[in-house]
Symmetry: C2
Subunit: 512 residues, 2 copies
């Protein structure tokens, strides 16, 4: 029943071309290792992230578990012809795909979803038969790049809001069906709830939302005015009454009308929930609205802000409130504590940085019983992948803060104590030494996540992923968490890993 | 079998809240009209679009045709509770959704998919029962905003390439499952083919792609070198041999190795297809590679460029080739005629402008047997929707160029001849008069597309949509098509429509 575009053919043509070539050369079942990593933090133009939040892994695993080449897929491939009209894919290859075209032979280790992550160190390590590990590339990158991008943005929005509730509202301008993945990533990364009904339910969270301007317009067209719309809303949802107050004019119409309806609600024994501001100078309107609400005895109802919010907009709104609220007789911190942030387009599209530059690179190839490290040289040193089978460790200092992610050879154990020599991943000669006394502990970051065609262990819940993020953020230097111009977190190579990389590069120079 | 997040619950929570409210007030089956339009052309920072290409309509219609509230959807809604733990949705409303929760009552007229479109004038007009027309909003915006955004970007990329083939390569960094919609929109807007296997097949197009760096690395790890990889590729795909030449070094290794393999191919009676350049200074490398290929007798093989391409990058590459090629003994125009452009991340994410600002606004409401125009005032005049039931006409001048899109009342006929008074959509007093002698013809843009729960007529093919785009582009002033700083195309209101809008705004001022 799966459409071809949602199944195994959710891939790039060249993956299939290469897979057939490997099949023809008897290389298709040789084991290979590919690493997934991203090259740089999202840079939103005026500001750059100092850390990422890893997301999309469980979605990828769900997809990998069920997918295989269907009869329809193979028929489509059989129909495909090249430049001279001859078939591109031969029967023997298609028969092999029919039998072995699934991910049963893939072993995957990964950093758990929701954790704070950094560039260059692999987040996912894939080992398996070359042909299927290659075909996996496109879908793996597609799942992990987009969700990590959005989770990272969501974490920044959450940090900017200083603990205020964040609602994800981006569906109407999100990227088609990809919006669902974006909503999920936002909920892992920093949104508390979403307006997206279907995905919220699937993840076990309540979708959130009240009404739009159109509802007020309907009652106005019927001659019942804005207050008629508000009364109808209060009557329908007496315990969940949150009113959008800017259809006509926020301060002269919306808020006074809302207060009148809130009074009526309270007389009937219900507590109103709040108002939503969706246009204009949100900081100023929040201050003035809070003042009106306070005076009317509604000092506890919430104020939801929406309209073009992102981390910097929220940051600026809070700064403006701190500066101006007192002038209007409003306590700024009390006002800030009642704010909720509805964040739409700028979160679901990661405004300013629309794609994570994650890559999936061949780093080792199994030949004659042993792993042969592979490398690709490049004119940009940061694009040279870290070769060979490896492990990633996180090093914590005596203040319990994460101080570096270290990429080591698979056989190395960093928990034995002794000083750690940490090399810059691509600037030769740049290194630092961490003495044992400065290190609180060393944590291996990868766990096995996929084997034998299925997930290893239980799928994590959204709550567990959120907890991982919060735990990691607490152990991050405040300078790295800063919204603008953050400190650079160290990603380093061990001595052995650095030596392997240098040796391979030397050997692969053209003419060498 | 449909997951809730792909069906009717692919919507925002407030649509359901409002629908229940309308149900409680007996308004749910009153007819309402909502218009879909976008407010401004995408602005990519250094450059802005002068026109849009409309896409996503047939995808939306497919979704609308089959979707209805399922038992699972209703069960999820039944489980939802508000702030005090009471259910949010009552049984009577859920029963109504069970019986009437589909789009059978919706009538939709639209500009056909693939056509050139402009801001403010509605692209889609929806009339139908208020509750279901409201619930439709989120999915409609989601389908149309993203695909129109990507089709518009693709058209610009195609224009920049001056007729050279454009390949869409964005899957690895596209927005999760939304990538499929993005690929489709790119294929309508300007891409000739895509690497996305599943969607290409579903649309009846051949997916395109050859091999990645990893294939060369595998053969290098096996001691067979780059040329071993190229030979294997040529042997597997002798009539479709296109080689990626930058894994080691383009000019000292990749191109010479490719030429050697091309010679072997030709001796065996096969013509090679070309090379792909994926890093470095693409203009310079294209010139030098062309020179090497020419000298070796391969003056006809193609050169595919990829890596961070978008319309401006392509424009600059062509300018650089025109300036520098002769110095290396290469004819620039001949080189340009053999180029193909592989465009990835920057197309699928609409780099620089990540979301179209399309809106779906209530513009009329049926009351006591007649349509009552509705309006929403706003501090930003361009955000005030054009009220009432309406038609959009395109006016062509005597040079056969489209000169304005004109929004008229539903009852007006602009084909009767006589001068046309065209008002600026929101700047009062700004208008121009088109004399009959200056007008070649006037074309109504909308056709009925959805009625009685299904598509009206046949679905258009991708080829038909592409033809509409090409026809419209030919009738567009070259200044409007310009990549940077384009002329502004006129979108105007007729006298009658302008008067209706002004009257409504006057009546709705607060205190009026």
């Amino acid at each position: 029943m799966t459409r071809p575009s949602a199944g195994m053919l959710f891939t790039d043509q060249y993956q299939l071309s290469m897979a057939q070539l490997y099949f023809k050369y008897g290389l298709h079942e040789r084991r290979a290792q590919f690493d997934y990593s991203f090259r740089s933090y999202p840079d939103y133009g005026r500001h750059q992230a100092g850390y990422g939040v890893f997301a999309g892994l469980e979605s990828l695993i769900d997809w990998m578990t069920d997918v295989r080449f269907t009869a329809e897929d193979l028929e489509l491939m059989r129909s495909q012809t090249g430049a001279t009209g001859k078939r591109l894919f031969d029967d023997d290859f298609l028969e092999w795909l029919d039998a072995e075209g699934h991910f049963g032979g893939i072993e995957m280790r990964a950093i758990p979803e929701g954790r704070v992550v950094h560039p260059l160190a692999p987040l996912v390590i894939v080992q398996g038969p070359l042909a299927m590990a290659q075909i996996l590339e496109t879908s793996l990158l597609n799942h992990l790049n987009y969700q990590t991008l959005i989770a990272t943005k969501a974490s920044r929005v959450h940090e900017a809001g200083r603990g205020g509730m964040v609602l994800e509202f981006g569906m109407r301008r999100g990227p088609a069906e990809g919006t669902n993945a974006g909503t999920r990533a936002a909920l892992i990364g920093g949104a508390d709830f979403s307006s997206n009904v279907g995905v919220s339910h699937e993840l076990g969270l309540a979708p959130k939302g009240t009404h739009a301007h159109s509802m007020v317009q309907v009652f106005m067209a019927l001659g019942m005015g804005e207050i008629g719309a508000f009364r109808a809303y209060a009557e329908t949802y007496p315990d969940d009454c949150l009113l959008l107050v800017d259809t006509i004019d926020t301060l002269s119409s919306g808020v006074p009308n809302a207060i009148e309806v809130f009074r009526e609600l309270r007389q009937q024994g219900h507590e109103p929930r709040g108002i939503r501001l969706d246009s204009g100078d949100l900081a100023y309107l929040a201050i003035r609205s809070a003042h009106l609400l306070d005076d009317a005895g509604f000092g506890d109802v919430g104020i939801v802000l929406s309209s073009n919010l992102d981390e910097l907009a929220i940051w600026q709104i809070l700064a403006q409130i701190r500066e101006e609220a007192a002038r209007y007789g409003v306590d700024p911190e009390r006002l800030i504590s009642r704010l909720t942030y509805g964040v739409g387009t700028r979160l679901i599209t990661s405004q300013g940085h629309a794609a994570l530059d994650g890559v999936y690179k061949l780093v080792a190839f199994h030949d004659e019983g042993e792993w042969v490290p592979a490398i690709k040289v490049s004119e940009s040193p940061e694009k040279i992948p870290i070769p060979g089978d490896k492990r990633v460790w996180r090093v914590y200092d005596q203040r319990h803060n994460a101080t570096a992610d270290v990429v080591a050879m698979a056989g190395e154990d960093l928990q034995t104590g002794g000083p750690l020599v940490l090399h810059h991943p691509y600037r030769n000669g740049v290194h630092r030494v961490l003495e044992q006394v400065d290190v609180e502990r060393v944590e291996p970051l990868h766990i096995p996540v996929f084997s034998g065609g299925r997930r290893v262990g239980e799928a994590a819940t959204i709550d567990e992923m959120r907890q991982r993020r919060l735990d990691d953020l607490e152990r991050l230097d405040p300078g790295v968490r800063r919204l603008v111009n953050p400190h650079i977190y160290h990603v380093s190579l061990t001595d052995q890993m650095k030596r392997l990389q240098s040796d391979l590069i030397d050997r692969l120079q053209p003419g060498a």
